[in-house]
């Protein structure tokens, strides 16, 4: 089994707010991230796929195909967007880095036919990242 990781970057705005909480609860739980005007990050995405090396091509996955899928399914939808307002997953879910990693997994998994998705890692800043392995 070989693991292959491809990186990409995107920039987006978000804020954290749960309408089930009172304004005070939202402020206490989410702090500065609760500012309704939003703030942004330069996110780094790492997508790791796994599989056996194809004896004919020497590839686990065609990197171009992986790049195209990441571009189409993730970057086109998220780059330079306000996540809460423009990305359907976050109309109801809070766009935390945890939920972002899950949403990216769910966008990619059905579209990758050659290799199996192993891990989605999303860096919100260089000092904070989330890994999602597709676990229930």
């Amino acid at each position: 089994m070989i693991y292959l990781t491809r990186k990409a970057e995107f920039s987006a705005a978000h804020f954290y707010h749960n309408p089930e909480f009172t304004p005070e609860e939202n402020q206490r739980i989410f702090g500065k991230c609760n500012n309704p005007n939003g703030h942004g990050h330069n996110y780094t995405l790492e997508v790791t796929v796994k599989g056996e090396v194809d004896p004919k091509s020497g590839f686990v996955v065609d990197l171009k195909q992986l790049k195209d899928v990441m571009g189409r399914e993730v970057l086109d939808a998220l780059d330079h967007r306000f996540l809460n307002k423009e990305v359907p997953e976050f109309f109801t879910k809070i766009p935390t880095t945890e939920n972002l990693a899950i949403a990216i997994w769910q966008r990619l998994a059905p579209k990758l036919n050659q290799a199996q998705l192993h891990r989605v890692r999303v860096y919100e800043t260089p000092d904070l990242f989330v890994d999602f392995y597709g676990e229930a």
Binding site: Y16, N18, E20, F21, I29, F30, G31, K93, I94, P95, T96, T97, E98, N99, A101, I102, P126, D127, L128, F129, V130, D131, F132, Y133, E135, A136
Partner: protein
């Protein structure tokens, strides 16, 4: 859905690698420059990885304010600008980065309740790093 969350922290500390159970020659042969009697220091980069179900209401594995508060008070404040050899956890154990990993893992494992500790990873320099995920870790 279960996710893993990793946060990085830094502190600077000094240490000297020396074992009282070895002769001066053995210490020198084992630890090389790190056995210099006056000690030396590093900027340690600590990665703390916790895991758990993403809470429906908050979208979080755990609140970063809680994790930052715990690690700053219990880890960074404890080690920042200290000589590791003088701390009680290194009274017997040599303050290698392996043992520092285990010491930090034990503090977080015993004290931090909001999420499950997966592992501690420490970069001693840009060229080396160490990981400890507990005795049953992967």
């Amino acid at each position: 859905m279960k996710a893993h969350l990793t946060r990085r922290y830094m502190f600077s500390a000094s240490h000297r690698l020396h074992s009282d159970e070895m002769s001066a020659e053995e210490n020198r042969a084992t630890y090389g420059k790190c056995n210099n009697p006056y000690g030396h220091g590093h900027n340690y980069m600590i990665e703390v990885t916790v895991s758990g179900a993403v809470h429906e209401q908050t979208g979080m594995v755990c609140n970063l304010v809680d994790l930052d508060g715990f690690v700053h008070h219990q880890i960074v404040d404890r080690y920042e600008h200290q000589n590791l050899n003088l701390l009680p956890e290194f009274a017997k154990d040599v303050p290698t980065t392996e043992n520092l990993c285990i010491a930090i893992y034990d503090i977080v494992k015993c004290g931090f309740r909001p999420a499950h500790l997966e592992k501690i990873r420490i970069e001693e320099t840009m060229m080396n790093s160490f990981e400890y995920a507990g005795e049953n870790g992967r």
